[in-house]
Amino acid sequence: MKQGFLKFKKRFQIHAIVKSVIFGASVGLLSASALLTILKRQAVRLNPFLYVLIGVAVAAVCGGILYTILRPTDKKLAKKLDKELQLHEKVQTMIAFENESGDILELQRADTDLRLKETPVKSVKTGRIWKHTVMPVLAVAMTVVAAIVPMKEIIPTQAEEPKFELSSWQETRLTELIAEVKASDMEQAPKEEVVVQLEGLLSALKTVDKESVMKQTVIGTITSVKQIEDKYDSYDELGATMLASGQEQVASLASALAKMSSLTAKQELSVLKESIKEETLGEDMQTLERAIDGSVAEAAEEWQSDALYLALTKLADDVGYVYGTMESYTQTWAIMKLDEAFTNAERSIDAALLQQRTNKETAEMAVDELLFIFGISETELPKGENSSVGTGSDEEGEYDPEENDDPLNDGGLGDGEVVYGSNDTIYDYETGAFVSYGEVLDRYFSRATEQKFSGDVPEELQQLIDAYFAKLYNGSK
C-alpha cells in the first residue's frame, strides 16, 4: 500500500541527501578556507591535516542539520504533493488515516495511491537548482582566496621601552651616598674621583627618561668607581707582580699581600726576619733586599708613590743598609736595626693594607648602594665587574673563606654563631669603621623597615629591600 507515495518519498529523500551533502561540503570547504585565510593573515601556521579535519567536521554537522530540516516527513511530503498535483488533500488524508480502518478509508487510500502511481515523479518540483549552486560557488571562491592570500610576515616590534624618572627617594639616597663617601676614610684621591663620579651620575640621571639609559649610566658609574678603586689599590697588583717575579723568598709575602691579609703579611715578615737572624745576619739580608727590589721593580713606575710599594722598598733599603753597615757595627746593633726595619715594615704594610681595604670597602659600599637604589642586579654588570668580591680575594677575584684569616673578615662561621648570607664587612656610618655586617644588620634592618612603613619608599623598592635583607639574614627574616 501507498507505493505511489513511497516513490515520491524516495525521490525527495535522495534530493534531501544530495542537497545536504552539497551544502555540507560547501560549508566545510568555506569554513576551512576562511579559517586558513584568517590564520594566514595572523601569521599562524597549522598542520594541513587540521584544516581537513575542521572542514570535514563542519561539513558533517551542517549537512546533518540541513538533512534534518529537508528530510521529507510523510506529512510535509503529503502536503506538497496535494498542492503540486492538486489532489485536494487526498494524500494528506491518506497519510493521516493510514493506520485506521473503514470502508471509505480503504477506498480513499486505494484511490489516492492509484493517482500517485499514475503520476510521474518528475511532475513534482524539488526546488530550484540555482539555489543549490550558491554555496558551492562561495566555497570555491573562498578556497581560491585562501590559496592566493600570502602568509603574513611577522616583523618583530620593539616593545615600548620603559620610562625612567629619578624619584625623590633615589635622589635623596644618592645624595646621602655621596655624603657618606665624602665622610668615609677612603683615601683622598680616590675619594675625590669617586665623589665626582657619583655627582656626575646624580646630575645625569635628572635628565634621563629611559630605563635602559639609566641602567647604562649607573653601570658606567659603577665601572668607573671600581676602576678608581683598582687604580689606587696596589695590593693585588704588587702581590701579583712579586709572585710573577719568581723571587721565592718573598713569594709567601707576596701571596699575603695579594690577599690583602695584614696578619699573614706580618707573619711572613716575621718568618723572613727570623730566617735572616738564623743565618746570623748573613747574605740573606742582601738576598732579601734584592728579592724585594727585584719583585717590585716592574711596578716601580706605576706605584712609586704608593704606600705599600714604599713600605716594601723601605724594608728593602733598611735591610740593605743593615747588611751594608753591619760590619761597622755590632751584631746587637744589626739585630736591633733589623728588628726596627721589620717593625716599621709591618706597621707601614699594615697601614697601607688597611687604607686599601678601606678604599675597597668604601668603593664596594658605593657600588652596592647604587645597585640597590636603582634596582640593578649584579648579573647585569659586565663580566668581571661583579661586585660580590669580598676582602681577601684571590687573583680571580673570588672569595675564599679558607684563605681569609683576617679577623675583620671573619663572617661568623662557628659553632652556635649566627650565620649570615655573606661574610663581607660593611662600612658603619655611625662609627666610621668597617665592621662585620652582622653588627649593623639589625640596626640597618630596623631603619629600613621604618622607612618602608613611613610611606616614603615606593612599593617596587620595598620588595627589593625585603629581598636584600632576606638574603642577608639567610632567609630567616
Binding site: 485536494h88 493521516a96 470502508d103 480513499q108
Partner: protein, 328 residues
C-alpha cells in the same frame, strides 16, 4: 469491492435524484445539489427567492422523488401553532363516551414544505422550532416523535416585507442551509415556459426512499476529514465573531457571528459533497463551496457593510479570503 458498490450506489442515487428533479426544475443546479446535500446530511433548508422562481415546485418535486410522505404548510398570519402541530379533540368512542384524541397536524410527515414561513406569527414560527431541531412534537404534555428522515424545507419571499415576521435567529440557526434561488437566465426561462406549457404538474418519479437516505447518511458520515481542514472550518466560523477580535472583516462588517451549529453543518455537509463529487475525503474546496449556504443566514452584517454596499455573501467571501490567508 463492497465498499465501491456502496459508493457507486450512493452516486447513482444522487444522479437519479438530480435527473428526476431536472424534469420539473430548470437550471438551479447548485440549489438542487445543495438541497440534496442537506437532505442526506439530515438538515433543514430555507429557500429564498422572488415569487415564481420555483421554490415550491422544487420542494414538491423533491417530495415525489423521495417517495416520502409530503406535507405542505402555507404560512399565513392567522396560522396557529396547533394548525401546524395538531391538537387534541374530544371524540365519542363506540360506547358514546367522550375522550380526548390527538389529531396530528400537517407536520407529521417526512418532508415538510413550510411555504412563506416568514408570514407566520412568531408564536407559530416557534412551534416549528422544536419540530425542526428535535423531530418531535409536544402537545398537552405528550410528546410525539416524528418519523425519520424528517426535513423541513421552508420558503420565504424577500420582496413582501409588509405583514411579515422575520424569522428569529434561533429558528434561522436550525436551517442547515439558506439557499437563494435567483431569477432564471433567459435560456432557462425559455425552457421553463416550454415545459410549463405542456404541464404544470410535477412529473418527477420516486427514486429514493427513507431507508436509502439513512444509508447514504451513514456512509457519508464515514468520509474522513483531516485536522487541518477541520481546523479551517472551525476558524472560518469563529472568524465570524467580531468580539473575538480574530478577523478584521468580522470586526468591520459583522454585528454578530454564527453559532457552533455552523461548524457542524459545514463538516457534515462537506462529507456528503465530497462523496457526491467522487472524492473520499473532505477538502478545503468542499468547505469553501458550502460556506455561503451555511453562513449567510447565521451572521448579521452591520451598517458598515451596507454602507460599503456589501451583501452577506460578499462578506462571507472576504471571510474566506482572510481565513485562507491566516492559514498559510
Amino acid at each position: 469491492m463492497e465498499n465501491m458498490e456502496k459508493v457507486q450506489k450512493f452516486n447513482g442515487v444522487i444522479e437519479n435524484v438530480k435527473s428526476e428533479l431536472r424534469k420539473d426544475v430548470v437550471g438551479q443546479e447548485d440549489i438542487v445539489e445543495n438541497v440534496i446535500i442537506a437532505i442526506i446530511a439530515g438538515g433543514n433548508v430555507l429557500l429564498e427567492g422572488v415569487p415564481g422562481v420555483g421554490k415550491t415546485r422544487l420542494v414538491r418535486s423533491l417530495g415525489k422523488v423521495l417517495s416520502l410522505p409530503f406535507s405542505r404548510i402555507q404560512f399565513t398570519p392567522d396560522l396557529m401553532p396547533s394548525d401546524v402541530t395538531g391538537t387534541v379533540v374530544m371524540q365519542k368512542d363506540e360506547k358514546g363516551n367522550m375522550k380526548s384524541v390527538f389529531r396530528g397536524g400537517p407536520i407529521f410527515a417526512n418532508l415538510i414544505l413550510a411555504d412563506e414561513i416568514n408570514r407566520a406569527t412568531p408564536k407559530t414560527q416557534s412551534a416549528m422550532l422544536e419540530v425542526m431541531q428535535e423531530h418531535k412534537v409536544t402537545v398537552s404534555n405528550n410528546t410525539y416523535k416524528l418519523d425519520e428522515p424528517f426535513f423541513v424545507l421552508a420558503t420565504e419571499n424577500p420582496i413582501e416585507q409588509d405583514g411579515t415576521y422575520p424569522l428569529p435567529e434561533a429558528q434561522m440557526d436550525r436551517f442547515m442551509f439558506k439557499l437563494i434561488m435567483k431569477f432564471p437566465a433567459d435560456s432557462e426561462l425559455v425552457d421553463i415556459v416550454k415545459m410549463t406549457q405542456i404541464t404544470m404538474d410535477e412529473t418527477a418519479q420516486a427514486v429514493i426512499d427513507g431507508p436509502t437516505i439513512l444509508e447514504m447518511r451513514a456512509l457519508a458520515a464515514t468520509v474522513p476529514v483531516i485536522d487541518e481542514v477541520l481546523s479551517y472550518a472551525i476558524r472560518l466560523v469563529s472568524n465570524t465573531h467580531p468580539e473575538l477580535e480574530k478577523c478584521s472583516v468580522a470586526q468591520k462588517y459583522i454585528k454578530y457571528g454564527a453559532s457552533p451549529r455552523a461548524a457542524q453543518a459545514l463538516i457534515t455537509c462537506a462529507k456528503v459533497r465530497a462523496l457526491m463529487h467522487g472524492n473520499y475525503n473532505v477538502s478545503y474546496e468542499d468547505i469553501d463551496a458550502l460556506a455561503h449556504a451555511v453562513l449567510r443566514h447565521r451572521i448579521k452584517i452591520n451598517y458598515n457593510a451596507v454602507n460599503d454596499r456589501l451583501g452577506v455573501d460578499e462578506v462571507v467571501d472576504l471571510l474566506i479570503k482572510e481565513t485562507k490567508k491566516a492559514s498559510k
